[in-house]
């Protein structure tokens, strides 16, 4: 999720300047996100080390010209693992947000278009999903489908769908009653066409705001699942996994790995939550 993607609808909706809405703190957050994305994309250009290969002789080294941030318990370069780990962490969260947004929008449009029985049915399904705590749903999915980034990403996306669907449903219902939708319906356009061509673009700002807010949560939850050993599997580099793998080293007095990876997560999540908060005009923790 880049700043550019968020920019268009926000400008179109309010007609105001995006920079004004973000404010200095929001712009700083956008810069941080851009920097992390760039670092993840250009990882091979920034470091020549392979994140998965290390030499045991070089374990637990401090920062040096060769290893700018030192090495981990297997002698792997920490900077390289952080940079490549950013790829896993960002990509995973992006897919969660994308799938949850798409699923939520689909349910919202279907519920809003058909109304009555279908709307009630969608409501019941969402209620049922709400009965499970997010993390539990993801853990159960791992039990069924096995561990791995792909599995937990889909699992988490399903866990997020009720939240996005609930918000989008109310917005879509409001649009459904407006004149332009009824005019299109009277012209004989099909529900599919009206929903996709007319309603969807008008609820796009809410979809994107929700995505920005959920991105931070998705990063934390994915990292937590990797920390539990249910998500990304070694030797793949991932921030959550690095905190977990660094735990044993930390108890022996080598705190670098856990601390560096943890700080990366904190900075990225904080940046995303600031952007989401500014775009949506909502408070932190406004998802539920």
């Amino acid at each position: 999720m880049t700043a550019q993607a968020l920019e268009r609808p926000a400008v179109r909706r309010r007609g105001g300047d995006l920079a004004d809405r973000l404010g200095p703190l929001g712009l700083a957050a956008v810069a941080v996100v851009a920097l992390i994305t760039l670092a993840a994309l250009c990882a091979p250009l920034i470091t020549s080390h392979d994140p998965a290969i290390g030499s045991v002789i070089e374990r637990y080294q401090g920062p040096s010209a060769e290893h700018l941030l030192g090495t981990d318990q297997s002698g792997r370069d920490l900077l390289a693992r952080l940079l490549y780990g950013a790829r896993t962490s960002l990509l995973g969260a992006a897919v969660v947000v994308l799938l949850a947004g798409a699923g939520g929008a689909l349910l919202a449009l279907v519920a809003a278009w058909f109304g009555r029985t279908v709307d009630a049915l969608v409501g019941r399904v969402l209620d049922l999903l709400f009965a499970f705590p997010n993390l539990l749903l993801a853990i159960l999915a791992v039990a069924v489908f096995g561990t791995g980034l792909g599995q937990v990403t889909v699992a988490l996306a399903i866990a997020y769908v009720p939240y996005t669907a609930r918000v989008l449903r109310s917005v879509a219902l409001r649009e459904r009653r407006l004149g332009y939708v009824q005019a299109a319906e009277l012209q004989g356009l099909s529900g599919l066409v009206v929903s996709v061509r007319h309603i969807l673009p008008n609820i796009a700002p809410q979809i994107l705001t929700g995505a920005a807010i959920n991105f931070g949560y998705a990063m934390i939850d994915l990292a937590a699942l990797s920390f539990l050993g249910l998500g990304v599997q070694p030797p793949t580099a991932d921030w959550g996994l690095m905190v977990s793998q660094g735990k044993d080293s930390l108890l022996q007095g080598h705190a670098q790995q856990s601390v560096f990876a943890g700080v990366c997560i904190v900075v990225a999540v904080a940046a995303f939550s600031v952007i989401g908060e500014r775009l949506g005009g909502r408070k932190a923790g406004g998802r539920a």
Binding site: V144, G240, V269
Partner: protein, 315 residues
Amino acid sequence: MLRFVLRRLGALAATLLISSFLVFSAMYAAPGTPESFLVQGRTVSPEVLASIRAQYGLDDPFLIRYWNWLGGVLTGDLGESLTTRQDVASLLASRIPTTLWLTLYAAVLIVVFGVLAGALAGLRGGAFDTGVLLGSSVGFAVPTFFAAVLLMSVFSVTLGWFPVFGSGSGFAGRIEHLTLPAVALALPAAAVVARITRTAVVEEREAEHVSVALARGVPWRVVARRHILRNAMLPVTTIVGVNIAALVAGAAVVEHAFTLDGVGAMLINSVQQKDFAVVQAVALLLVAVFGVVNLVIDILYAVIDPRVQLGGESA
């Protein structure tokens, strides 16, 4: 009121019934057969396999197996663990105290520190307010597992103030062992609660009825307590409730980090070992607790705000 509670309890029972079916069929649909987990990769003769299948009732049709399992659950028989052969109900019972203490401890921390910091920041303003704002922004972004690792590093390894592992026994022992885990678990939620409380208090402080009360000469302390805090507590109750309910599942991460013998850690272990009998039982328990906590919050909400109509269509 009673009707509302009864209806919600009925809805909760229905939800649990459907959830149990979903969880059971999800485990049923999982790749790999149950007996392959039971024999754990050893090569066994077809006769042994057949006897195992018969022992666990694996040859029965799906619905019969679900029905038998559900009947067992309702009579307190949760089956036996596929890996350790122990009774799941007694396994679960031995794990509940740790998780209960941990979540209660964290809930107290969330309420005390989150609400207190937010309310003081909103009422006082100034440097304290800025501090709370900054602290809550950072605290909110710190994942529980990272907080756990950091706390362990500083207070257990470096300073040696708290034990690194174990969940302790007796009241004092539990408090000592569970302080760091509870702080880690409570931190992000307390940050959110502090932020919401602050916003609610500030909004209320700037409301007209507060200016009027002050202009009429009502003392600030009384205005703060009766006019500002009382009104501001409504959104706070909601957000505190949501966050406490979420502890039910969040505890798993902290228990894993501190290697505590709680229900959440048991869930993670049994997922990794594909011990579906345990996974089913824990999942059902967590959904039930989650539902009950949410119900209690809704009732509390009505007690605090008499305007809330119980038994309405939205309830």
